[in-house]
């Protein structure tokens, strides 16, 4: 047995001792579900194969989706799961990144006390990697969502912003447009002035009614006042929060004055800080970064965290995790079970200890 595998089993046993049930999802996963969840980007990151009978399959790029599916189908609430096995990630840009590696995970489904659940998972992972003296980074996608929800603007604009929370550049471009900081493109102005016409026949599935609906939406949007300077400033300030947790919380409480909708989300972070502290985490020195986790996979929608080796900025996080309530909603066909989970990469732990 290799070193990394021995370590994976030890971590898995540690999670079993913490109350988790061992699960073993299949390596081959139906591709359509993953594609539906993640979109085309997943094809750049996962290996796709196929047969005539089952169609497209993916070599599992992570365990979370199959574990959630399994839980939604027949799990009891609350439930804790662990798994240890390989995941496969297609690499197109960096030949030094592994395309298959071990992951050990812990997933907790429990809706009664989200702050306590977040703290349980974080503390368990922090403890497992503690000998390596890693830097922990934390964030909260929920506070960004709350900030967007609280803007004084149309529901359509909010929906567009929510959709691009995970694409920071695009999110910024939308904000610039909604606040009037970037000019209206010429072709858009012509369209709004009713000067865009065509004699071309309409081909394809997208119907004339859909084109008309979008033009009507654009016209409604053009009549919408720009986002206020004060709200934009508060949003920028929020996106730039990067402090130890107590200072970050103080800043976010201040921002609630201009963005009152932040209040419930900030209170959730308060509660989490208390729960973490109760688990023995040194929250006074824990980093909080409001923009953390925005470029990773789209399913995290609350607490997010990662553990990094400061001397090895070339390495991906040794452990990472977060809350994914929305994913359980998507996979649960209406029912939702709040869930939080995390994974550790034992191979990276070996590498950092110089034993790989």
């Amino acid at each position: 047995m290799t070193q990394a595998r021995e370590r994976a089993h030890a971590l898995r046993d540690r999670f079993i001792a913490a109350g988790a049930q061992l699960v073993k999802p299949p390596i081959l996963q139906p591709a359509d579900l993953l594609l539906d969840l993640y979109g085309e980007d997943i094809r750049a990151r996962a290996y796709v194969t196929s047969d005539a009978l089952r169609g497209e399959q993916m070599l599992r790029p992570d365990f979370t989706v199959p574990v959630v599916q399994m839980h939604m189908a027949n799990g009891a609430d609350p439930a804790r799961y662990t798994y240890a096995g390989k995941v496969f990630r297609r690499q197109e840009d960096d030949p030094d990144r592994a395309n298959e590696y071990l992951q050990v995970g812990y997933e907790l489904f429990d809706g009664t006390d989200p702050a306590a659940a977040d703290a349980e998972v974080f503390a368990l992972i922090a403890d497992a990697v503690s000998p390596l003296n890693l830097r922990a980074a934390t964030g909260d996608i929920g506070i960004l969502m709350a900030a967007v929800d609280g803007l004084d603007t149309s529901e359509r604009r909010k929906a567009a912003l929510r959709r691009h929370i995970w694409r920071p550049r695009r999110f910024r471009a939308l904000l610039d447009r909604f606040s009037g900081r970037s000019p209206v493109p010429e072709t858009r102005a012509a369209l709004l002035a009713g000067k865009a016409a065509t004699d071309a026949p309409l081909t394809g599935l997208r119907r004339q009614s859909e084109i008309d609906a979008r033009i009507a939406a654009l016209q409604a949007d053009a009549a919408e006042p720009p986002l206020s300077g004060a709200q934009m400033d508060s949003l920028d300030a929020l996106l730039n929060v990067r402090e130890t947790l107590p200072f970050a919380l103080a800043q976010m409480h201040t921002l609630c004055a201009d963005l009152p909708a932040l209040r419930p989300a900030v209170k959730r972070i308060d509660a989490r800080a208390e729960a973490l502290s109760a688990r023995g985490i040194d929250v006074d020195n824990l980093e909080f970064e409001a923009s953390f986790g925005r470029t990773s996979m789209e399913y995290y929608d609350g607490f997010v965290f990662g553990f990094y080796a400061e001397q090895r900025p070339d390495l991906p996080p040794v452990a990472s995790g977060g809350r994914y309530d929305a994913l359980t909603r998507r996979l649960g066909q209406g029912q939702e079970i709040p869930a939080v989970g995390a994974v550790i990469r034992p191979g990276l732990m070996d590498e950092l200890e110089g034993t790989a």
Partner: protein, 230 residues
């Protein structure tokens, strides 16, 4: 022996032969019309390898040919980190083709990738599946759309007659190579204003990984000098 890979048929082969001829190197096919064998005159130590243009990137990256002629589009699409594997030696001035993103001309509400993204979100909500873009350049198109921040689309593979997929309702938009734009127009499609994914032309490439002896090195230097490509 320096191995030179060139496209084995059609206009691309003819133009390539002319380009070398102008520079004092004669490439020719030998044997019957159907036999893929060739010869080089005007310089010693160079062997001609006739290949499909689509296979040239792979052969260069594997080091099985030292030089190869193929389009920028194929190199960029087929070779990740292409800069590390091949080096462009000369742009040959023909085979101009742009990889572009095109949508039905009747979509007067869509002119920028920004519009495409919004239309894709609405399309997915209305139809229950992602807006489909037909292409054979999966990697280039995906990277381009990621940079442009377009979501809610799916690529569908199309190895030919891509412009027809929209009318056939197997895709809502396309990403394909165009030189004059005639085929796009004939199929009632328009290029997005910011939809140029890659401007491509026939290019002479050198493999960075092919093994060369001292004698090969000398031949390569002479050849590239003759071609004005050193």
């Amino acid at each position: 022996m320096i191995k030179l890979g060139v496209p084995s048929k059609g206009r691309l082969m003819d133009k390539t032969f002319q380009w070398f001829e102008k520079r004092g190197v004669t490439l020719m096919r030998t044997g019957s019309d159907r036999e893929y064998a060739g010869a080089v005159e005007g310089i010693d130590g160079v062997a001609l390898v006739l290949l499909s243009a689509g296979e040239v990137p792979r052969e260069l990256a594997a080091g099985r040919i030292h030089l190869g002629v193929t389009g920028t589009d194929l190199i960029h699409d087929k070779l990740p980190l292409w800069e590390q594997q091949v080096e462009p030696m000369a742009e040959m001035g023909f085979g101009h083709a742009d990889l572009v993103l095109a949508v039905p001309k009747a979509w007067i509400d869509v002119d920028l990738t920004d519009d495409l993204d919004a239309a894709a979100a609405a399309f997915r909500a209305a139809h229950g599946f992602r807006l489909r873009i037909a292409t054979k350049y999966h990697r280039l198109v995906r990277d381009f759309l990621r940079d442009a921040g377009v979501a809610d689309y799916a690529l569908v593979d199309s190895q030919g007659a891509t412009e027809g997929t929209v009318a056939n309702e197997t895709a809502e938009a396309i990403a394909d190579i165009t030189s004059s734009g005639d085929t796009l127009r004939a199929n009632h499609l328009k290029i997005l204003s910011d939809g140029l994914i890659l401007a491509s032309q026939a290019t002479l490439w050198r493999s960075r990984v092919a093994e060369v002896t001292d004698a090969d090195r000398a031949v390569l230097a002479t050849l590239l000098d003759r071609l004005g490509a050193d």
